[in-house]
């Protein structure tokens, strides 16, 4: 089951440039929340702060409170490694490990955590690949083909399977379909629909139609600030803020 995410006054910097200003929002469990906004508005930065990937960048800093269920992500004594294990991430450009087979790719996160039991691994790998709608296409080549030998859309689903294998509470997706063709994109969108039932999904997208198709809630970011956060339907039909309306109608961005 998914969990909720409470963000309180999150600020983030790249060196001296402040990328996020006082972001506060509650993300509901078992729903998909889309983050939209023009380039440079901080949507990727926001999502990367949720699983503490932001700070892997040199000179990057974040302050504020992020609670994922019972875990205080930025709390004292909380290791980023623990956070990232419980929050999965799928990146814009599919990045399977090229030197590993499909099987090894999916089980990578599990093996890192000391899971060695072959039988259990087999079960989880199959389950993850099914959840990512990739099982039927690769089930005969699990150990023979390398992760990089698949098509772009398949690679991205492989990355989703890899993220799901460790059974995270939350799945973060940073423009997961922007590097893919339309058919793969629609497959990924269908996937998100199904994943919602078991996970909390936060998806960054620059494609407003995608947000409308996939997410129940949408947050509009502009220049590092959260402008509006509401049900997707409301944002796209009767936005409360004029800036949201301008963006939606294409007046800028």
């Amino acid at each position: 089951m998914g969990v909720d995410i409470k963000v309180e006054r999150l600020n983030a910097w790249f060196g001296k440039n402040q990328a996020l200003h006082e972001i506060t929002m509650d993300i509901l469990p078992n729903h998909a929340t889309a983050i939209i906004g023009p380039s440079g508005c901080g949507k990727s930065t926001f999502v990367r702060c949720l699983n503490r990937m932001h700070e892997t960048h040199p000179d990057a800093r974040a302050e504020g409170r992020v609670r994922v269920s019972d875990m205080d992500v930025y709390g004292d004594g909380v290791a980023p490694v623990d956070v990232r294990r419980r929050i999965g991430m799928v990146f814009q450009k599919p990045n399977p490990f090229p030197s590993m087979s499909i099987y090894d790719n999916v089980s990578a996160g599990l093996r890192l955590n000391g899971f060695r039991n072959r039988k259990k691994l087999d079960v989880i790998v199959e389950k993850s690949l099914r959840s990512a709608a990739l099982w039927d296409e690769v089930k005969d080549d699990l150990k023979k083909k390398s992760g990089a030998s698949l098509s772009g859309g398949q690679q991205q689903r492989l990355c989703i399977a890899r993220a799901l294998a460790v059974e995270p509470d939350v799945l973060l997706m940073d423009e997961p379909a922007s590097a893919l063709d339309p058919i793969s994109t629609s497959k990924i969108e269908d996937l998100i629909f199904e994943l919602k039932a078991n996970y909390t999904v936060v998806i960054v997208t620059h494609n407003m139609q995608q947000a409308a198709r996939v997410a129940e809630f949408t947050a509009f970011f502009l220049l590092g600030k959260l402008i509006e956060f509401d049900k997707t339907e409301k944002i796209f039909t009767t936005p409360a803020d004029k800036r949201t309306e301008d963006y939606i109608t294409g007046r800028f961005g």
Binding site: D82, R85, R86, N113, G114, F115, E167
Partner: protein, 287 residues
Amino acid sequence: MSEIVPALQWHRRVTDKLATAIAVACVLLVMLPLAAIFAYLVFRGIGALNLAFFTQIPRPVGETGGGMANAIVGSIVILLIGSLIGVPLGVGSGVYLSEYSRGQFGRLVRFTADVLNGVPSIVIGIAVYALLVLRQKHFSALSGGVALEIMMIPTITRSTEEMLRLVPSSIREAALGLGIPQWRSTLSITLRTAMSGIVTGVMLAFARVSGETAPLLFTAFGNQFWSTRLDQPIAALPLQIFVYAISPFEEWHRLAWGGALVLIVLIVLTSASVRWVASRGFVEGSR
């Protein structure tokens, strides 16, 4: 649900810290001989450096004093001979590879230059010996210069090519667009723009080659006396260091350390000044 994966085990954390510790240890271990070598060079070498060292030739065995003046001059002579042939050939090849070559021949030349780079210097010495020394029936400064020049060429070729490639094609197109013939544009504009980078490459080649001993063993051969004649054996700093180091005489050991200090200072100064020039944004013309 997340109980399926246990929280970060203690031993993973320890492995992570251990890996860092081992990496740091490796760095320290590698820095150790570096520090030791420089320390000894200064410590043992500085005592040998006096006016006599830079102005006199070695005294006969058993006498104290004397210097390595002939070796220092000899090295300069050989380097000059080498660069007279090596620099034009190297820069010319670099120009060809960057401006004119397409396809197979260029790839072959590049590959061969890399191959030549990896050939042991003593093998080059043998080849030059067979070509020049055997025919002339004596060792000579000229053959030493030829051996060094062979070693310089791959470095100069590759660095010239890379510097020229950095010159934006818009500059070349501007020149051609003005109706300037290609040879003129290459010489006066492209080459001129990349000049400081090319000079950098040449000086680095110098620094690398000035310390080479093996190719000089049977070409320049070494000389205990003053000589700058091209057709006679000539002393060279690294060669002299070698001969003195393996000799049984205390006095010569002292001179060897002095010579080594002089050599390393020259090399480090050359590389450092080259790096300093490079860091100031060397390809100054290509704005």
